[in-house]
């Protein structure tokens, strides 16, 4: 949970959002120690910008949404902008990963990957479904 001064910093960062972003949270009621804390973080985060919305689904019960977003673990947070598949985070977004999720929100909102022109050309030519998993450790 961000402390008050952190909330002010995050609120200032989120001012640059140009389009709405959904924070789509998947949880289960048992065998998920970090689901309650993740819900709290996301709820508080979503209050920091009118462009952010928070929604939550049960991994076992809300199968249509589970299929739609392709999640298979909890806690999961999919940061969804107006284009693309969104960026999925598995695990509680605390520590360094809190900064990552804020970056993901700005990325999804503003739609600017920051890639060079050459990289954009290369990436645009990918025609095969590609799953990129980045393993990290919260600090």
């Amino acid at each position: 949970m961000p402390i008050e001064s952190e909330q002010t910093k995050v609120r200032e960062l989120l001012v640059s959002m140009t389009s709405p972003v959904r924070l789509v949270f998947f949880y289960q009621s048992f065998l998920c120690e970090t689901c309650p804390s993740t819900r709290q973080i996301l709820t508080e985060l979503s209050r920091l910008s009118e462009q952010l919305t928070f929604e939550e689904y049960n991994l076992q019960l809300d199968r249509e949404k589970v299929e739609e977003f392709g999640v298979d673990k909890v806690p999961a947070v999919v940061v969804v902008g107006t284009r693309g598949n969104g960026l999925c985070f598995y695990g509680i977004p605390s520590g360094y990963e809190f900064s990552s999720i804020v970056d993901a929100i700005l990325l999804e909102s503003n739609g600017d990957s920051g890639l060079s022109t050459d990289s954009r050309t290369v990436v645009a030519n990918v025609t095969v479904p590609t799953n990129i998993q980045v393993f990290v450790a919260p600090t």
Partner: protein, 69 residues
């Protein structure tokens, strides 16, 4: 990358919360990136190197992902 191309899906996995995945993908340090269960990218890389290595997932078998070993 996923913003540039809807064929690309990206997930960030907290290694400490999913020990089964850590074992499955042989994670011994972070960050580690796995592309289509076939290409492994260790540590932080420059944009150019990362994209070059990531696209190796389609470097053989006519674009079909190679099996993870």
């Amino acid at each position: 990358m996923m913003v540039e191309n809807s064929n690309i899906r990206a997930t960030v996995v907290s290694a400490t919360e999913y020990p089964d995945l850590v074992r499955q993908y042989g994670i011994t340090g972070v960050p580690k990136t796995v592309v289509n269960d076939s290409v492994e990218i260790f540590g932080a890389q420059t944009e150019e190197v990362f994209i070059k290595q990531a696209l190796e997932a389609f470097g053989s078998d006519n674009g079909k992902p190679k099996a993870f070993s």
